[in-house]
């Protein structure tokens, strides 16, 4: 089997707020206050192979962005490790570490908050390759112009500032900036979420062209299942910090196994498949400060039973390349149910 380009092995990321002085003093008097910890990412395994486009989907607060940041190497994991071409990130040093950092680039949702408003396009795109010695200082204009042209920006705009561009053009600047250091992996965090549908289609096409041209690998984080279905080779669904299902898009959409995935797909509004009746799943997304016991989804799950409340389900293969974390997998009735395409809820 091929070696993954990047792999998360039992990665966890916790955020905790330390007690302030007042709370520490209160504790001296027996208030019993504890640090609040959010398990943004909870023991996740995810491998991305060279040339693959992996979609990471889930609702807000499910930890998909945090996992993306940890894998891009811009945020350390609090548990487990991220391996770059088989080697743990923590073990990389010196030039190797710098090379890895350049090879994994991120593209964010809102280019306006990631582009320095006081810098011109030529500096925004050209600074990193200059600093890292990829190009010589006098080659900057030529290099940036060729990149700008590649992502569909007019080369005559190089001396403009970010505010002089529209949302779609700004996203192109962000993409050109990421490409400037010749990356192997692009982590796109909701990169098309803020764009109008027509501009979104332009940017998605650009991503696919760049993949072919530069042999890029993508970790594509999005809440939009329609987008993910279209461009990804594999889709990973997260819920409250954990991976609940992973499969190829066709398999996932035709035969979702986890009740959460089933609900997500069923509730997706679609122009082609018009549905006048809504059958929403009940309840809110629980706070990651106090996640439910056992399977995190059980309070909202229409099929939950006793075991779901106490025991965390592990990812088990359903078929080739399709895994899901649900106790229903262990029930014999499960096999009969797959005969019907749409499980009745």
């Amino acid at each position: 089997m091929k070696m993954p380009l990047i792999e998360a092995v039992n990665v966890s990321r916790r955020f905790s707020r330390k007690l302030d002085h007042a709370e520490k003093i209160a504790n001296l008097f027996g208030a019993g206050l504890e640090e609040k910890t959010v398990h943004a990412v909870d023991d996740v395994n995810l491998a991305v192979y060279p040339g693959e486009v992996v979609g990471l989907v889930g609702e807000s607060g499910c930890g998909k962005s945090t996992l993306g940041r940890v894998m891009a190497g811009i945020m350390p994991a609090s548990g487990g490790e991220v391996c770059w071409q088989g080697r743990p990130l923590m073990a990389l040093e010196g030039q190797e570490k710098r090379d890895m950092r350049l090879a994994a680039q991120m593209i964010f949702q809102d280019p306006m908050s990631t582009l320095n408003p006081r810098k011109k396009v030529i500096d925004l795109i050209g600074e990193a390759p200059k600093v890292h010695g990829i190009i010589k200082a006098r080659e900057i204009r030529e290099y940036v112009a060729s990149l700008a042209e590649r992502v569909g920006l007019d080369a005559s705009y190089l001396d403009r500032y970010p505010h002089q561009f529209s949302g779609g053009q700004r996203q192109r600047i962000g993409i050109a900036r990421a490409l400037a250091v010749k990356p192997k992996l692009l982590v796109c965090d909701e990169s098309v979420a803020a764009l109008d549908v027509s501009i979104q289609a332009q940017i998605l096409n650009l991503f696919m062209d760049l993949k072919r041209e530069f042999g890029l690998t993508y970790l594509f984080i999005s809440h939009d299942l329609g987008v993910v279905k279209h461009i990804c080779d594999r889709v990973v669904v997260m819920y409250l910090g954990r991976v609940v299902e992973s499969a190829t898009p066709d398999d996932l959409f035709d035969n979702p196994r986890h009740p959460y995935t089933q609900a997500l797909i069923r509730e997706l509004p679609s122009v082609t498949d018009r549905r006048r009746v809504f059958t929403p799943i009940k309840g809110e997304i629980p706070s990651p400060l106090h996640p439910p016991s056992g399977c995190h989804f059980h309070p909202r799950c229409p099929k939950a039973f006793d075991r779901c409340r106490g025991e965390r389900p592990i990812l088990k293969p359903n078929s080739a390349g399709h895994v899901s974390a649900c106790h229903l997998n262990d029930l014999p009735a499960r096999n009969n149910e797959t005969a019907t395409a749409e499980p009745a809820i």
Partner: protein, 323 residues
Amino acid sequence: MTPVLDVRNLSTQFMTRRGVLKAVDDVSFTVGQREIVGLVGESGSGKSITGFSILGLVDPPGRVVSGQILFNGQDLLKMPPAAMRTIRGKRIAMIFQDPMMTLNPVLSVGTQMIETVQAHDRVSHTEARQRSRDALGLVGIPSPEERLDSYPHQFSGGMRQRVAIAIALLHRPDLIIADEPTTALDVTIQSQILFEIKRLATEFGMALIWISHDLGVVAALADRVMVMYAGRIVEAGQVDGVLTEPRHPYTSGLLSAIPAAVPRGEPLRPIPGFAPSPLSRPSGCAFRDRCVRATEICSTEPALEIAAGREFRCFHPHVERAA
């Protein structure tokens, strides 16, 4: 049956230093009783300003320059401010995209709701509180009595939007204008809100204008859809017709830009180019620079064509498929 809302030749302009910005340009439409109308378009197409214009919420340098907005036969544009205040919030209510911007963070939800009740009806504090509690219960907020004393930040995004809907429902308005109310919400929560809205609109016989950029949401919710481009309604009609057999090239362009429109992995089909700047729109059909069907005649103004319940402005519409 007379329509609840009859907008005629509405134009709203912003007088900026760089010139006159025609945000809404000669827009006419009606909303029937109990009807759910979707207003779709890309950012900058003027769909939100249309909603604001109806409620008289356009601030300087913006101004409604011409047209009529007939609400139950009364022209809202001719109404003095005091009379308008008895309509706004009582007969016509609005729900915004981000309830955190419209709810006051330092007042409890109950205080804000009671204030809304008493702004229009002379009722006791106890009764106003009772009505507020009932409204919260109606939109599916658990334990409404206790939640009246909560502050907006203590609610999740979806619950906050439910509070905003509850406030809009307090006076059982004839018309609710909802401006991208589920855009910031997750899919499962969006589905809950759409479910509640649809149930409540039917239950109370309210008409609804649903402003959105998401064609999928409008397809699922609305009876009729209006497509806006560069300040104008370019196509309008029943959802089933407009979204299945669009006549205007812009509508068909929008529909084919959706990822689901092409087989997986194939290149998407975006509309070429960008929406024109509202300060320098081309003459005639504003879409002609991006339109594959455009010819010379498109530099003149296309007239509104009405055929079989469908309206569109185009010289070269897609042909109607034989039924």
